[in-house]
């Protein structure tokens, strides 16, 4: 399955839940929030949300801001 993560193409084996994808991409344990196809996905939905081919993920973390 091909998805787009932060604007880059990523290939994941087989079909994945968002939770599995986050683990496979190396974000486990990080303080992050996720939007899928420009829509916010609450943390509680990671386990049940199945990603589709071509999905776009934004993965963000805290940073300094004004």
């Amino acid at each position: 399955m091909i998805i787009e993560v932060k604007g880059e193409r990523k290939e994941l084996e087989g079909s994945r839940s968002l939770e599995e994808a986050i683990r496979a991409l190396g974000y486990e344990g990080a303080r992050i929030a996720v939007a899928r196809n420009d829509e916010f996905v609450p943390r509680g939905l990671y386990a049940t949300l199945q990603l589709q081919d071509g999905d776009r993920l934004e993965i963000v973390a805290p940073m300094q801001g004004g």
């Binding site: 991409l25 934004e58 973390a61 805290p62 300094q64 801001g65 004004g66």
Partner: protein, 266 residues
Amino acid sequence: MTDPIPPIWEIGGRRLRSRLLLGTARYPSLAVLQQAIAASGAEIVTVSLRRESAAGRAGTRFWSAIKEMGIQVLPNTAGCKTVKEAVTTAEMGREIFETPWLKLEVIGDDYTLQPHPFLLVEAAEALCRRGFQIFPYTTEDLVVAERLVQAGCSILMPWGAPIGSGQGLNNPYALRTLRARYPDIALIVDAGIGKPSHAIAAMEMGYDGVLVNTAVARAADPVQMGRAFGLAVEAGRLAYLAGAMPSQEMAEPSTPVTGTPFWHQS
């Protein structure tokens, strides 16, 4: 003597002491940032979101450093140019930072970073419905302010000058007008403040608070400057409550002249 400054003010449902809001960007290091926050006495700091690389944990480290200070965070929607981007960013920020507080920014012009008045109002309407406590970053425009209040905002953050410019209060007349027209709305000057004297000027007008970032972060000594801004905001507030004397054209001797040596009536 009792402290004449009301020790507590209420903002966004929280009772705080400091009226200085501090940005966390552009400091030389995380350690200097923490020291500057402590020196300033600020109890609200703005924070943001960025794309995180899987390898780096910079965001997690930053968040831990802020969290251990026990202060209120105000997540922003910096860089958003559409309502959709602002709403999605706001929701991600609410989850990551565990607060409904939101500094709502919708930028309409790349060169001045001027807020987009129409999209800002639209985004404020959408986010008020979603239960956010919005601190909208807006211009000094009175009618835009009215629309934001109608949308449900009880706090407004008009700019003093463009972000990071350090110009101070470019339109004091309009800022005074906002204060006069919205006595019950919390007004905070956000952006453009370069020196403590600018912060004092805003507070002397009766503004409820001031948000500063670059002026502290890019000072030669950010920790000292943090302290200077903390004192300035307090001094300005105190001056507002004390009520300044009216200015006049001609001199008026402050020392009584009657009875001074060599006094004679001319």
